[in-house]
């Protein structure tokens, strides 16, 4: 959520260069690996609820759930939660549009919640999501899975499952593309000229 990923990925305009970090096969391998790690760390994936952070976190949560169902035979519940109403920077920008929220049936009480997002940077989105979770119920534990960790943390937050660690400069952007939204999978690093 910290980045604007609505690029075209092609670096069409001059002065912008994109470098591919992950291709579609890499993304698929990472999702399979994280699914295995979640099964391992949660003793079979019982009572696990995957909660995506819109919009691309939701897609990733759905894909992880499908992979976990395939590998363990147990399909975890999937939901999504828009943390916008809990953000600490609302008053710095004009009011932004809200995304969908849907907590799976049975709620979150005493379940193991895995928050899923595409990019982890400052940690502020995750902080907001943790506050939102607490208002929805009391999970037994909360873990965090991200596709890319790009550093620059501003809060004491750490991911339990990381697809790829990418050292970045603050001015660079991470662009995540997912088939369901963008038509193809991939992750790119965008660098503005002169930056």
């Amino acid at each position: 959520m910290a980045d604007d990923r609505r690029g075209d990925g092609g670096g069409a305009s001059s002065g912008v260069s994109d470098r591919e970090l992950l291709n579609a096969a890499d993304v698929a391998r990472i999702i399979a690996r994280i699914a295995h790690q979640i099964i391992e760390k949660t003793a079979g994936g019982e009572e696990v609820v995957l909660i995506g952070i819109p919009t691309r976190g939701t897609v990733l949560a759905r894909r992880l759930a499908a992979a976990i169902a395939e590998f363990s035979g147990t399909a975890p519940a999937v939901g999504w939660l828009d943390p916008t109403l809990y953000r600490d920077d609302l008053r710095r920008k004009p009011a932004r549009a809200l995304e969908d929220t849907e907590v799976p049936e049975g709620g979150l009480d005493d379940r193991l919640v895995v928050l899923v997002d595409d990019v982890l940077m400052s940690g502020r989105t995750v902080r907001a999501a943790l506050d939102a979770l607490a208002d929805h119920g009391r999970p037994r534990a909360v873990q965090l899975a991200v596709l890319v960790d790009r550093g620059h943390r501003e809060l004491p937050i750490r991911a339990d499952y990381v697809g790829k660690n990418v050292p970045t400069a603050r001015r660079e952007q991470i662009l995540v593309f997912l088939d369901e939204i963008d038509g193809a999978d991939g992750v790119a690093l965008r660098r503005e000229a002169g930056a």
């Binding site: 828009d82 109403l85 609302l90 009011a95 929220t101 208002d135 929805h136």
Partner: protein
């Protein structure tokens, strides 16, 4: 959005954005243990009501509280208004106390616009930043009512665009009718006003809707019918012979409800006078969305407060 004074300030995109926000807020609060969001913490919302109201005032107050704003209610009775203070002085006093938003209902049409002009001048002079929401001004507008009606129609019918909506009754004294006609037309609905000629305002021919005097000719083509209360408190003169005659001519009776298409929805902005503009059995029937309107009212008002107060000033 700086103030919400009239639905004509909203284009289709802005109105749809408000309705979408209301939907998302409803989702965000669904089935939750803690029905409170921290979004407007530290913001002060004052309702200033110069006319009686139950649902609008409570709805705004609940909306503010669910988003953690501090809400204060001022009514004309029991305030300095009774001592002769003017609308302007009362409003500037409230702004000086740090109100981020003043929600006003007033019997004079245009009251909210005057307040907004004063608030803007005050902002230039002193830097205080107060937004004004019109919660009903005389016979002029009631924008949040029209928004909650549109939200309810969207819930029940799937969409507003292309739907035919009948608004029946005392259009002359109804700010709800005016706001609804303009908002629903903006959203692409086909609106028809049904009223006796004596209860239509001057200039209604310029509104983006069709006019009819025959309710029975319209019913079978309507996707929704909204009945309006006959506003006896605003009537100075004889607009129809008797309450009974009005009910016979324009009341939504069981027989008339039966003439509606199967899917059609019945709305009423409240308060209802049962047996006058709507039969009790129709108000309580499955096609009635009257309580859904009230529920949506809270979410729509939360959405308005969110758009006005949550972000940085534009």
């Amino acid at each position: 959005m700086k103030h919400l004074l009239s639905v004509t300030d909203l284009d289709a995109a802005a109105a749809t954005a408000l309705l979408d926000t209301a939907d998302r807020l409803k989702q965000a609060l669904l089935g939750r243990e803690v029905r409170k969001l921290p979004t407007l913490r530290g913001r002060t919302v004052i309702t200033m009501f110069y006319e009686d109201s139950t649902r609008t005032r409570v709805s705004f107050e609940v909306a503010g509280k669910w988003m953690s704003a501090d809400t204060v209610n001022v009514s004309a009775k029991g305030s300095s208004v009774g001592k002769g203070e003017s609308l302007r002085d009362t409003a500037l006093t409230l702004a000086a106390m740090g109100a981020d938003c003043v929600i006003v209902r007033h019997p004079a049409s245009g009251a909210a616009h005057r307040l907004a002009a004063w608030a803007d001048r005050d902002r230039a002079a002193t830097g205080t930043d107060t937004c004004i929401v019109n919660a009903g001004d005389g016979t002029h507008e009631h924008p949040t009512q029209a928004l909650l009606d549109a939200a309810t129609l969207r819930d029940r019918l799937g969409s507003v665009a292309g739907r035919r909506i009948g608004i029946v009754g005392d259009v002359l004294h109804s700010r709800v009718a005016r706001s609804n006609v303009f908002l629903l037309a903006t959203l692409g609905a086909d609106v028809v006003l049904v009223a006796p000629p004596t209860l239509l305002p001057v200039g209604v021919q310029q509104w983006p809707c069709r006019i009819s005097h025959e309710i029975d000719a319209e019913l079978s083509t309507l996707d929704a019918v909204m009945t309006l209360r006959v506003q006896a408190e605003r009537m100075r003169g004889a607009f129809f012979p008797s309450a009974r005659e009005y009910a016979i001519g324009y009341g939504l009776s069981d027989e008339r409800a039966a003439a509606l298409p199967q899917h059609a929805v019945v709305l009423h902005p409240g308060p209802m006078v049962r047996g006058m503009e709507i039969a009790p059995s129709v108000a309580d029937s499955a096609r009635s969305a009257i309580l859904a309107q009230v529920r949506n009212g809270v979410h729509v008002r939360m959405a308005v407060l969110y758009h006005l107060l949550a972000g940085a000033p534009e």
